[in-house]
């Protein structure tokens, strides 16, 4: 045999043996065991391809932001604040930035003391800093079910135990919350905080009712529990009356002029302006705030000065009528997202089976759809990715155990162009019908959904399916699946 130059590596001492490799395992902190990379996440990574329509992202639409305005504001920051923009800033954030935060919160009727605000690198950092400040391994967090998929790895990394409480159309049911708190108390355990997204919940798409908000604040006061109120979408309401934040309700209860002492409020510029800025904030009772500040010093010292100055300049921007540009932009986003939400709801009505149900969000970015309980949306994603070229977030991502929520999915309508909403939902619907049809055949139950599914498949004549004498799907993955044009003729209107 032709031998590669054996030992060339030995001389340099760079030889990596399996033993050496395995040694790393001993070096990793115990908490890394909670940092799981799941199969589902790996599959999600595969959907980031140009030929895949993704309804999986958490993205707002940034294509509507005026390029000239962006350029002008950045030029202004560069010219007028060069040294400051290029310098470190205070850990708690720049004063001009905090003024913008106070203005945004006032828009939702929430008054805050600028001294209780900390600027963070995205809202995500607030979740991390709150856990850093409050959570020891094994501590309990109470969260909604489903919960924000992005919080799941954070909670895991801090080795928190998360008690998730199933929501209904009015958000977190407070009687169920009290039941959970009682049960924990009986075990001598006290949750460190209750994590909730009261407005247009991600991923659930539901909004906590006013009565429940009041009751939640009462419960928190009775039991002296902290609440982390995550409110990224509050200003993106497309219908219905705005509801007060938990922060403002608690501040009212405290009665000390606008500051809550049990609610940690999380806000972000990601959804009303841009996620690329990486700017969010927390408002917290001072003792908590101090710990968040110390935590942030260790994490990144301060958030970007450039983007803080950009936001400050943006908030000063007025149009010819003297209207604030940021308010107008939020209005534009709202009308765009409202239209896309309505479009997605109509498409779901048309393409998802009778077994399916979905939330009708009054705002925000997401719809949560739930299918026949025997369908696992992680598997469905594998099928939909492969055969249809479409992606969504499988429900399991929103549960700490990685098992529950298996028949649900999160769909983003806000950051997806209209054509992709139509085509994406149609493709998912086709994959669902295929699975439901198969279930029907296996259980012998006659399914009304079966025949249209077969029709659709047949009408397309997809070469990747049912190759004679093969039955394998190998070919499908060698051939790139082109993004199909939304073709009305191929779309089937189901008789319902």
């Amino acid at each position: 045999m032709e031998r590669p130059i054996k030992g060339a590596g030995d001389g340099r001492g760079a030889r990596a043996t399996a033993h050496e490799l395995a040694r790393y395992e001993a070096l990793f902190a115990a908490r890394t065991h909670g940092m799981k990379s799941s199969a589902m996440r790996e599959m999600m990574a595969l959907t980031e391809r140009p030929d895949v329509i993704s309804l999986a992202g958490g993205l707002p639409d940034t294509t509507t932001f005026a390029p000239e305005l962006y350029a002008r504001l950045m030029a202004k920051v560069a010219a007028e604040s060069t040294a400051r923009a290029l310098q470190y800033g205070p850990t708690e954030g720049m004063a001009a930035m905090v003024e913008c935060i106070v203005e945004v919160m006032a828009e939702e009727g929430t008054l805050v003391d600028p001294g209780e605000v900390i600027v963070t690198t995205g809202g995500q950092q607030v979740i991390d800093l709150v856990c850093k400040a409050l959570i020891d391994p094994g501590d309990v967090i109470v969260a909604e079910a489903p919960t924000y998929p992005g919080a799941v790895p954070t909670f895991g990394a801090y080795q928190a135990e998360v008690a998730q409480i199933e929501m209904d159309a009015d958000g977190l049911p407070i009687d169920a919350l009290e039941g959970t708190l009682d049960r924990l108390q009986a075990q001598g355990r006290r949750p460190k905080f209750i994590y909730t997204i009261p407005n247009f919940q991600n991923p659930g798409g539901v909004t906590m009712s006013l009565a429940r908000r009041r009751r939640l604040v009462e419960v928190a006061r009775e039991r002296e529990l902290l609440v982390l109120e995550d409110n990224p979408y509050g200003l993106l309401r497309y219908e219905g009356e705005p509801l007060p934040t938990l922060y403002s309700l608690d501040a009212e209860a405290v009665g000390r002029g606008g500051a809550s002492d049990l609610v940690i409020y999380l806000g972000t510029f990601s959804k009303i302006l841009s996620p690329g800025l990486r700017l969010g904030w927390a408002v917290a009772p001072r003792p908590v705030l101090e710990k968040l500040n110390l935590g942030k010093q260790g994490a990144d010292l301060c958030s970007s000065s450039v983007t803080q100055l950009f936001v400050a300049a943006y908030f000063k921007e007025r149009d010819a009528q003297g209207r604030a540009a940021w308010r107008e932009y939020v209005e534009r986003l709202k009308s765009l997202y409202r239209r896309r939400r309505d479009l997605m709801l109509a498409e779901l009505e048309q393409h998802f089976g009778e077994e399916a149900s979905w939330t009708r969000p009054q705002g925000g970015l997401f719809i949560w759809a739930t299918l026949d309980e025997r369908i696992d949306t992680t598997d469905l994603l594998a099928l939909a990715r492969k055969n249809e070229g479409v992606a969504f977030v499988p429900g399991r991502a929103a549960y700490m155990d990685g098992r529950s929520g298996s028949s649900s999915m999160r769909l983003n309508f806000a950051g997806v162009p209209d054509d992709d909403i139509r085509e994406g939902v149609r493709r998912i619907g086709r994959a669902v019908r295929e699975q439901v049809g198969l279930l029907g055949s296996l259980t012998g139950s006659s399914s009304k959904i079966l025949s249209p599914s077969q029709d659709v498949t047949a009408s397309q004549g997809d070469s990747e399916q049912d190759l004679p004498g093969d039955g394998e799907t190998g070919l499908a993955d060698v051939v790139e699946l082109p993004r199909r044009e939304a073709d009305g003729s191929a779309r089937q209107r189901r008789d319902r």
């Binding site: 590669p4 590596g9 990596a16 990379s37 598997d379 799907t473 190998g474």
Partner: protein, 329 residues
């Protein structure tokens, strides 16, 4: 080989095991670099053939897992364009990747493999296969394991504890492949035996490979009670590996003999990993499947087994590389 080679490391691809493959590829690249070769990393995608022809490698090192890289697709392409490559040829790849075919071959050859049935999706739609499930359940008993025929990882592997769970499990597995396997569940210890071709005689450079040897047995012990799933298989810390596995001398020898028999039976070349179960109740060994492109990541079983046999990672990679020139004509 007289000098350094231009080695294209094929990795990534579009399979569900893409990320694992990228890690295997990175490990292989490091080793090949240390061995003095010129490393040409290739992420296998739509312009794969063109890309490979452009870099003009002497040899392709296959670090792909799953679809395309392990099922003979890439091997067939490499033969077509005349690039020597590591590991098994297309026929063995097809046999090993198709668990149903592999199990039929094993059963016919008298190699113990858990009882099974297989289903094609179209047989349900077109041949009323659902009516056969009762007989399958009666024959195999619960719990049952349902697996996509060609999926290399645990993705799509489902359990059914009772009859009512079977349809959901089947639909889940059919999401990954149109052909699936229903298998009797063996409760016991999870073993893996890697097989490596022996070094060719020094007198015959470029000659045939030496007799294959079975490496020490690795046992995978899941950290959690949970099923040995995809996550735990690839993430450091989720599974504890014991190598050599703490088995009696006789069981070890039997496991290694079985692995060698399967390696020969399925026509593997260069390297393969044979997964087995040691049944708790009976002490019987059962062969589950054979993997023609075993992982080379930090936590993969093959490097650990090689290490236990005194073969360092670079030596292992070097021997796998050598398999490109010992392929029987």
């Amino acid at each position: 080989m007289s000098a350094a080679k231009r080695v294209a490391v094929l990795k990534g691809g579009r399979s569900l095991e893409r990320k694992v493959s990228l890690r295997s590829g990175a490990q292989a690249q490091d080793a090949l670099g240390r061995l003095g070769h010129e490393v040409l990393p290739v992420d296998v995608g739509p312009s794969f053939v063109e890309q490979l022809q452009a870099v003009e490698p002497d040899v392709a090192f296959i670090a792909l897992h799953g679809r395309d890289g392990e099922d003979g697709t890439v091997q067939g392409l490499l033969e077509a364009i005349g690039v020597p490559y590591t590991g098994s040829g297309p026929a063995a790849c097809v046999c090993c990747t198709d668990k149903v075919l592999a199990k039929h071959l094993m059963r016919e050859a008298g190699v113990p493999t858990p009882e099974f049935a297989f289903l094609r999706e179209r047989s349900i739609k077109e041949l009323g296969a659902a009516a056969s499930l009762g007989a399958v359940e009666a024959k195999l008993g619960f719990p049952l394991v349902v697996k996509p025929a060609s999926q290399g990882s645990a993705l799509g592997v489902k359990f059914a504890r009772a009859g009512e769970e079977l349809p959901g499990a089947l639909v889940g597995a059919f999401s990954y492949d149109r052909k699936i396997l229903i298998e009797r569940y063996i409760k016991g210890r999870d073993l893996a035996v890697s097989v490596l071709d022996g070094e060719p005689g020094s007198q015959s450079p470029g000659g045939a490979a030496g007799d294959p040897v079975a490496l020490p047995v690795v046992e995978a012990v899941p950290r959690e009670e949970d099923f040995y799933d995809y996550e735990s298989r690839y993430e450091i810390g989720m599974t504890t590996f014991v190598c050599p596995a703490e088995l009696g001398a006789e069981t070890t020898a039997r496991a290694q003999q079985l692995a060698l028999a399967v390696y020969e039976l399925l026509g593997c070349h260069g390297v393969a990993r044979v997964d087995l179960m040691l049944e708790e109740q009976t002490g019987a060994l059962w062969v589950l499947e054979t993997n023609v492109s075993p992982g080379l990541t930090e936590t993969s079983l093959l490097p650990q087994a090689a290490d236990a046999a005194g073969i360092g990672f670079d030596d292992l990679v070097s021997r796998i590389l050598g398999s490109a020139w010992t392929r029987p004509a």
